[in-house]
């Protein structure tokens, strides 16, 4: 049983972000991290490996060469090997192109489970897992609060409108998990040292059998404008008053806006 966890390198939440003249994020200007929600997928995969349900855990990322750092960080948490698809033709890739590339790389790796986080911190479309499943012609188990494996099938626990469902599909599958799978572990010093010796392979588009035309110049979308958000009206503050006064002030504020 083999799991490949797909990882995206993203600008840190706290990092200052800038867009270049081409309206692309200047990723070099921002501190980069593993997409925090992908760390939950790493954690889920490592738990499955530790329990014996999975034999191997590998990581796959698409991005600039620097995304290799995110893969090393994942390897420091655990797992066996990593693959980076990097190619100048992929700059500015949209969700469709990302899915196309990951699908082609996953075809080569042929895992039983391709596992992803539920969303990326920077784009938040959450479309890549489903699009990868569609392109590869595999079942999708998305938004799992827990993933289990056994009897040739994968199962997730997924929130329903009120309670939860268990959804099952035969392997191989594409799955995504939420932040309910358990807090991601920290990399130990020993893990960080060990990660340096774990194999990491770099692939170009040609290595995974795709051309720049196959990914429509990296995007079916085109950004035409990037601008700062509208300035927000300043916050009204109420402090150093009694609870009665505070309650009256809030009620006045709500009444002035016809909210009560």
């Amino acid at each position: 049983m083999k799991i490949v966890v797909c990882i995206k390198q993203v600008p840190a939440t706290t990092a200052e972000k800038r867009y270049g003249a081409d309206l692309r994020l200047d990723r070099a200007s921002a501190e980069s991290v593993i997409n925090p929600l992908d760390e939950y997928a790493v954690e889920q995969a490592l738990r499955l490996q530790e329990s014996g349900a999975a034999e191997s855990v590998a990581y796959l990322s698409m991005g600039p060469e620097s995304a290799g750092e995110a893969l090393r960080r994942a390897l420091a948490m655990g797992g066996d090997e990593a693959y980076l698809v990097t190619d100048g033709a992929l700059a500015g890739a949209d969700e469709w192109a990302t899915a196309r590339v990951l699908a082609a790389a996953l075809d080569r790796l042929a895992p039983d489970v391709a596992l992803m986080g539920m969303a990326s911190d920077d784009a938040r479309g959450s479309l890549v897992p489903g699009a990868v499943a569609a392109i590869r012609g595999l079942p999708l188990l998305s938004y799992g609060a827990e993933l289990t494996l056994g009897d040739g099938a994968a199962r997730i626990r997924r929130l329903s409108a009120a309670g939860f469902d268990i959804i099952e599909a035969p392997l191989p599958v594409v799955a995504s998990v939420t932040d309910q799978v358990g807090e991601p572990r920290y990399a130990s010093l020993k893990g960080i040292m060990a990660a340096k010796r774990k194999p990491m392979e770099t692939w170009s588009l040609a290595d995974i059998g795709l051309s720049a035309d196959d990914v429509h110049g990296a995007a079916l979308t085109r950004m035409v404008e990037a601008r700062p958000p509208e300035a927000k009206a300043p916050t009204e503050r109420v402090e150093n008053v009694s609870a009665d006064e505070a309650a009256a002030k809030i009620a006045d504020w709500l009444a002035a806006r016809k909210l009560i």
Partner: protein, 328 residues
């Protein structure tokens, strides 16, 4: 080429979700500008019986892509078949787990461009223009389909992006999607269902939300929040910290990994306002925060920030609102 605009319309027990009514209005607006019609792709339990009712919400037609409680992803092939004959200009999908699953499958199956979640969408020269708050809202970006990109443009829309049409009439003409093999997506099966002990509201439909965080301290601590929500005719929500602590069901979690809500009024109580929570409520029309920490980050983006003890302020606010309502 068709100038129609499709939208995903989820049903439960024959009734359309609020998202279906919102997207119907959005699709009708865009289709009207393009000279086409709004068409709903109906799915979920009772979708076939309820689909005609989408007419009152703005749809000219409805195509049933799946009726029943199967995982929504199993309807993806039917959705693709419904879209493929004469591809519409755009397809609006709710930015919910189910809506995103179907949207993602269409992006992969059809090789079409995806946008969003959007905060606004318009048409310019027959092309969709999607406006998004990107990178946790630090930048507003506007995107459109690339030249020669196939149709439709798939557009994820957050709750509250469009306003349902009130008092509409008329029925949508209903048809079934062309027969399609569900393929690999059809292999996902619900093998166990665990309903909740108590009914859980759909936060995306609430116009007033009173949300509690770590500062609420316990399940009992939520009682005054329920009372305040009660007098305001609203619902209770929570931050991830409160859901993780087990004080409230995960369905009521607001934020990056919970619901994204856009109520007329959001009152955050004992919530610090970390970025992960903020992205779930920052488009609420009015934001009030009550927190004992004068430096809580929520104080920087709330419209009204009250520094105080929630256990003192919230019950008094409930009483004050009751008193004022009694007088009017």
């Amino acid at each position: 080429m068709s100038n129609d605009v499709f939208f995903l319309a989820e049903f439960a027990d024959g009734k359309p979700a609020r998202s279906a009514l919102e997207l119907a209005a959005g699709a009708a607006g865009l289709a009207g500008a393009a000279g086409g019609a709004a068409v709903g792709l109906a799915y979920g339990s009772g979708a076939r019986d309820g689909a005609a009712g989408l007419g009152a919400a703005g749809a000219a037609r409805a195509v049933v892509i799946g009726d029943g409680d199967a995982p929504v992803i199993t309807f993806a092939a039917a959705a693709a078949a419904a879209v493929q004959g004469d591809p519409p200009l755009a397809l609006l999908a709710p930015a919910t787990p189910n809506g995103r699953d179907l949207a993602a499958a269409l992006v992969g199956l059809l090789g079409v461009p995806a946008f969003g979640p959007v905060r606004a969408v318009s048409l310019a020269d027959g092309r969709v223009r999607a406006e998004m708050a990107t990178l946790q809202g630090s930048v507003i970006t506007v995107s459109e389909p690339a030249d020669d990109a196939p149709r439709p443009a798939v557009v994820l829309s957050l709750a509250g992006t469009f306003t349902p049409i009130e008092g509409g009439s008329g029925t949508a003409s209903v048809s079934d999607a062309p027969a399609a093999d569900a393929g690999a997506f059809g292999k996902a099966k619900v093998v166990e269902t665990h309903p909740a002990e108590a009914a859980v509201v759909n936060l995306e439909e609430a116009q007033v939300i009173v949300a509690g965080g770590r500062g609420v301290g316990s399940e009992d601590g939520f009682r005054p929040l329920h009372e305040l929500a009660g007098v305001l005719g609203g619902a209770v929500g929570a931050s991830r910290a409160a859901a993780d602590a087990g004080w409230i069901p995960y369905q009521l979690q607001i934020g990056q990994t919970g619901k994204v809500v856009k109520p007329a009024l959001y009152i955050g109580v004992g919530i610090s306002g970390a970025i992960q929570h903020r992205v779930g409520m920052q488009t609420a029309e009015n934001v009030v925060a009550i927190n004992k920490d004068p430096d809580a980050p929520i104080g920087e983006f709330a419209d009204l920030f009250v520094v105080g003890d929630l256990f003192q302020v919230v019950p008094r606010l409930t009483e004050e609102i009751k008193r004022r309502k009694g007088q009017s």
